[in-house]
Symmetry: C2
Subunit: 697 residues, 2 copies
Amino acid sequence: MLDFFFKPRAIAVVGASREPGKVGHDVLKNLLDFKFPGAIYPVNPKAQEILGLKVYPSIKDLPQKVDLAIVAVRASFVPEVISLCGQKGIKGAVVLSSGFKEMGREGAKLEQELVKEARNYGIRVIGPNCLGILDTYSHLNATFAALKPLKGKIGFFSQSGALCLAVLEWSRAQKIGLSRFVSLGNKADISEIECLRALAEDPHTEIIMGYLEGIEDGRAFTEVAAEVSRKKPVIIFKSGTTAAGARAASSHTGSLAGSEEAFSASVKRARIIRAQTLREFFNLGLFFACNPPMSGPYLGILTNSGGPGIVAADACEKSSLELPTLPTETVEKLRKVLPPYASFYNPVDITGDSDAERYEKTLSLLLEDKSLNGLLVILSRTAMVDPEAVARILSDKKDIKPLAACFIGEESVRKARSHLLKKHIPHYEFPEEAVSAFEKAWIYEYRRKRPPVKIKRLKVDFEKAAQVLQTLRLEGRNHFLDHEVKQLLEAYGFAFPKSLLARTTDEALLAAKVIGYPVVLKVASPQVQHKTDIGGVRLNIKNDEELVKAFQEMIINVRKRLPGISVLGVIVQEMVPKGKEVIVGFLRDPQFGPMVMFGLGGIYVEVMKDVTFNLAPLSKEEALEMIREIKAYPVLKGIRGEPEVDMNALARSIVAMGQLVSDFPELSEGEVNPLIVGPKGSKTIAVDARLSLGGEK
Amino acid sequence: MLDFFFKPRAIAVVGASREPGKVGHDVLKNLLDFKFPGAIYPVNPKAQEILGLKVYPSIKDLPQKVDLAIVAVRASFVPEVISLCGQKGIKGAVVLSSGFKEMGREGAKLEQELVKEARNYGIRVIGPNCLGILDTYSHLNATFAALKPLKGKIGFFSQSGALCLAVLEWSRAQKIGLSRFVSLGNKADISEIECLRALAEDPHTEIIMGYLEGIEDGRAFTEVAAEVSRKKPVIIFKSGTTAAGARAASSHTGSLAGSEEAFSASVKRARIIRAQTLREFFNLGLFFACNPPMSGPYLGILTNSGGPGIVAADACEKSSLELPTLPTETVEKLRKVLPPYASFYNPVDITGDSDAERYEKTLSLLLEDKSLNGLLVILSRTAMVDPEAVARILSDKKDIKPLAACFIGEESVRKARSHLLKKHIPHYEFPEEAVSAFEKAWIYEYRRKRPPVKIKRLKVDFEKAAQVLQTLRLEGRNHFLDHEVKQLLEAYGFAFPKSLLARTTDEALLAAKVIGYPVVLKVASPQVQHKTDIGGVRLNIKNDEELVKAFQEMIINVRKRLPGISVLGVIVQEMVPKGKEVIVGFLRDPQFGPMVMFGLGGIYVEVMKDVTFNLAPLSKEEALEMIREIKAYPVLKGIRGEPEVDMNALARSIVAMGQLVSDFPELSEGEVNPLIVGPKGSKTIAVDARLSLGGEK
């Protein structure tokens, strides 16, 4: 995919320049310096030769078989250049020029023209307003960055040029290098989605890292990422996740940031390794680039100093990793090589008088120990220990299990750190950051091994639901009547309390027979707002006798308190069983599409914000995961001897809601609130609900 | 305080050695190299001269007027050395030797002996098992660390030798330097508390940093820290805050970690700046060492690259800082110096084609703008900008308001970063970390300016409460009877529902008259467990008529359902008004002493862990702060049109609970649960309560 970008046979540099410091010069120089093996054709009407290459006055004059154009002309000329490139049969253009959407309205118009020309001639565009692209394996450095890239296994894409530069420098400094690199710029044509695909297919790319500010097609992004992440770790840092950040992002590349909730759901579904800070982004890249998979949560910690060991243990306990006690055999073996005052538990503290040999012996034993899935090695610079010797020992024992080192200090451990990085042992300045990298590696591996999400359609009455919506359309209405909300949701398996209007006691008895005891009576009168206040509600009526009595009392009561009002009769309603009140809702994210929402009813959602989201439609397993994710989950599991609610029934409701919002794009928002879920086997009842159409908001 | 440690006239080095690499040699060499101006007397029975100094065979042979002994002999000799030092009139000893509590039971015994000798002769001891102490202003380097310390304004103490070394290196690398430094080691005698005091009094120490694993006397620590932090920022990193960390800590220096809740409460009370990670610890030290106070929450961000600007904006929005829009005057001025495509909002994005001059002009305007309390300057390395020039500009404009820089990159910004550090402009590799430092600086300043906590005693019936406890003591009981719990809490102002036993309807009418309607009736029978099930409870009885009827019905009902049981009569009880259920409790932390606890009742505390703690006794303001701290606070404020609860009454209950636990050390744990708090003016009612004595647990 997009091979004409990453493995072109011949390249044109449109707007090539003689002047160092100009984009059109620097990109040409980079192409030459990085030893691009194919032909390079500078284009410039005013020059004969640049950097020893023959210059072509116009795109029209280029020889045939150019795949890729690098464009560095003034913004206003770009649309025409694209058109000429297209006419010449060039397949891809990387537009380095700025002056488009990022510059305001005029620029946005220019960008639209650019896209129009590209579509017209079927030419694909990366950028504009970007730093360029590179593929270290095909010797392509089509960027105007000053730094020479290092060959490696990280494929990187970024919406920010500044981050591109940062990653270039970082990948050199950490000695891990890059395979491919795409500066997406304004994403006028090619987006992160195609980029992800191209990196997924590239055999030299083993880890994918991406910096994003906005995701336009969140749905497609999630699908592609989910596919890719089964094979290669995908590490994403997304900014613009807060209101202030989103404002800044929109004034930057004109991105729409998308909601944080939607992106979080996407991350879950797609097994994306999400970095929460820029530092973590780099830390994770380093870890994944250097280590085999972290196959379990059990971390071993080896240290020669108590303090940093405790800090690492704290970090571990706060994470989803575990710090297991070592098996007796290992402890026995350790006793033979360590002094008696060492700590044989985990962290294994070999104490401040350790030399490199003690490190080596302990390390061997801990690496052999199959109960540990990864090992963190901490070193404090004492007079007794040679950090470089320990670094050499570590690099000799690489790849047995995931390793990270934390050599505390600055100048005194600099050489040892360099050695570690050269040998691809990830090094972190502080223990907490190393622990966090192990954790993310484990979570990724755990999710990667889970079977892919399979969404089974529930049996629903699609036709009935469609009919309700059809009625609204025909009548030109944009809001639902109460009974339509019920009909629609009932079609998708939600049950509302049954109810019938009874004008006489006989009718009431008949209604109760149909509905089944226990029932609730409510006075039916258009003039009565607060039924309870005037004795207009009676709960838990268990038999005919009680029903007749309650009916008569209620009528008398209401007539006495509000003389002269019109009473239509009494509503006989199914008594809602005892259970927990939950909310199952949906909404439609502009970027990520239909989503479901779940939480415990009332203030759990309103005040405690204890609510979780996922993309719709979703699988039953995902729905069950949502249930487990909320903090109030123990309430559903049953506290104080209460029985567990019917998790399957609840999951079914969530799945059904996901199916509903996916089936009908015209539904914009809605919820069943409260939905009453009782113990296993009991009926799940929707007490109240609302639905909105897209036009309403 | 402790001036004989930090400004000694003469020092003895007991266990001085000729052999480089030995502690007794290296510490002597450090003293000499750092040009200690007073006399230095090496003590060693087997040497004549070391490093050009005359050696004394024994402590007894020392000349008079030695203030300080540095002890580096084998552990088993240390107690005797301390005794001899004491006899000689030496005031302080720094024991570098290890082999004490950290080595197990034998070592712990040795440490006890050490302490005994010290107490015997009134000699104060730092250590054992420590790296030493230093005071850069009195040219005292009594450590055996290989690195030469830099003079500066940070006073540092640490329970971990490894962290001591790390701070030494860091303070050199960041060019901020140290004033004093204490390696606490096992804290056999001198603890963090005296250390804090000594640093507070030292005029050269402007910022205090401390690394702690355990705090023995949390109460005294909090008091001293609260006093000190009004004058100097106190930055603390505490490890051992999780179960795993605490286990590791106890096997390290034998520390008891103390509970996380107690330490958090102490941090709040004492205005401690708490670092959550080791990196943050160093980041904060740098910020405070370089900047004037952050007097408000308004941060300005200046950047030449969109991406990192967005990342900073996100971080700001997640923090308690604000990112204000700039005043019109400033925007107008900016328009004159910036290109039209720049972003004039906040972050101010001067775009990638900026040079140093554009940075200078923008910087001047933003520093002049009084609406900003601090400024973060981000730079991405482009071809157009000279990072060193920008670094110079920043250092020229220092001290107008708090500043931090974030120059993104590695090698390409190294020199600029060095320049910044040399000029004391704090530099952070990533925007989020800079924002977090600004935030902590603002929170510190905000808390520092608040008036100190003044705790007023509530009027309570201390005598009555003391009498209840006296009864328990006299009767040799270690648990309370129900009515004793009530009496004790009533003495401290908690009100329980009034209730009386009535055997006849007449008695019931009388009881209701005393209690006041509405009342509740409950059948009184030792044989009835679940009163409600047999119709033995009637709520909300409003008048005499209803009372008589309910009384008679209840007796008949119960007799019918449970014939033959003995009925003592009926309890007439005050009807508990409607309100919110909260929990007000107390406990006693082994290190931090009495504490109060507050949260919303039921699953808010049990499941959602939405609970907050403070040290007791506490002020009304602190109690009100606790109320505001819980997540469910909006529930108390009133949601869905409900009235706000009586905050003052609630705060009073919390304060009373704090007073109770402080007044009676024998109370170990207790709570009123639920306490019903209604709207302003209504009565606050304790429905249930429990109290435990120290012996019980």
